[in-house]
Symmetry: C2
Subunit: 225 residues, 2 copies
């Protein structure tokens, strides 16, 4: 029974929360939120599904830790630019691009506002607003507005990515073109604006439009300075 004893021998790469999160991110990136199950994760880690619970409280904790890891990495890459406005833009774009690469993060950011992911984003944006030297009251309103706007786009992109996967229109441009086509067919008297927006949606750069929204809020902040 040499095979048997070898099988149960202690593995070289012992299980750890870091390793579990790492593999979880790989599964999420490859197959979306529905692909991550304790069974698929255990199979990839060549262990039992129950073993994961020794390192992770539950699935919520696992998803939260995975999102924290992605956001921590992105915030480290953003660094601390000199000019506050530019730094805020960099953070916003960093989150946008991170959700583009890991769509499932978008829906995770909302859960548990005391998690590192959310705290880092709020601190990153709010700290730069404080550096702008605007009144306290405005600081909090502006930080809240910017973070909620970023979350909103993140959540929408996450949902779109899920739908794109289901429809087999893998890339974002093709998916948005599909949405535009639907919008364009709406009743002109009931939805004149959405119809007009559809033509824009077909050829627009949504990353650029995202940044335009950030600038719009920042411009509003200057107003009440």
């Amino acid at each position: 029974m040499a095979i048997r004893t070898q099988r149960t021998e202690r593995r070289a790469d012992a299980l750890s929360k870091a390793r579990i999160v790492e593999v979880a991110i790989e599964i999420l990136d490859a197959g979306g939120e529905s692909a991550l199950t304790f069974r698929s994760l255990a199979a990839r880690l060549t262990t039992g599904s129950g073993a994961i619970y020794w390192h992770v409280a539950d699935k919520n904790d696992l998803l939260g830790a995975a999102a924290d890891h992605v956001v921590a990495q992105l915030m480290a890459e953003v660094g601390c630019g000199a000019e506050p406005r530019e730094a805020i833009r960099a953070i916003a774009l960093g989150v946008f691009d991170a959700i583009d690469a890991h769509p499932w993060v978008g829906s995770q950011l909302f859960r548990e506002p005391w998690r590192p992911a959310m705290l880092q984003i709020v601190e990153g944006v709010g700290g730069r607003l404080r550096a702008l030297g605007i009144p306290d009251r405005v600081q909090f309103d502006a930080a809240s507005a910017l973070v909620h706007y970023i979350l909103g786009v993140a959540g929408q992109n996450a949902a779109n990515a899920r739908l794109a996967r289901e429809t087999d229109r893998t890339d974002r441009a093709a998916f948005l073109a599909g949405v535009a086509a639907r919008w364009a067919q709406l009743d002109p008297t009931e939805h004149p604006f959405v119809r007009q927006m559809a033509t824009q949606l077909r050829e627009h750069d949504d990353r650029k439009q995202f940044l335009a929204g950030v600038d719009l809020i920042l411009a509003g902040v200057e107003t009440v300075r």
Copy 2:
């Protein structure tokens, strides 16, 4: 076997999509997203779980239809105020209050941007922006910014409500106080802004802050007019 024949007799209130959605909303409001299952729904409708599939494609369709119903009602109540800026504020507050009453709607708004719920919000906001007579380009950026901001707050409130239910801190004020307490205990050198924000969070009116965000974006729009 009189009982048996009576049991299988056709009910007075026949099943319909409208009736299914109505009861689904009741369950969602009472017990949150996790309370709605085809089994619980079938029990409340005194029918088999399979019967629901005759009127509804799947759970996604059911949740979407429920959210559409709530949003349609709220948009009807908002009406069409004279001044565009006031109308946008009214729509935003309408969505905010609707999610306060039906938190599960918050996470549903993201899914399928061609659903009536999303279309009505985009049209409502965008149409009023057009009435302001600003350039096309700015109109679309502003509509995108406003809708994504509203969605972001909606999603966050939905997540908070779910957490509040799990923690038994049913009302929003108590939940936010709990978040504030956590934030206040953070490391002052790592999270100076979030710590300062915590004291604000404890006693602030988040409905008012939500409106302040809308005004901030509208002020930004005036800038590029």
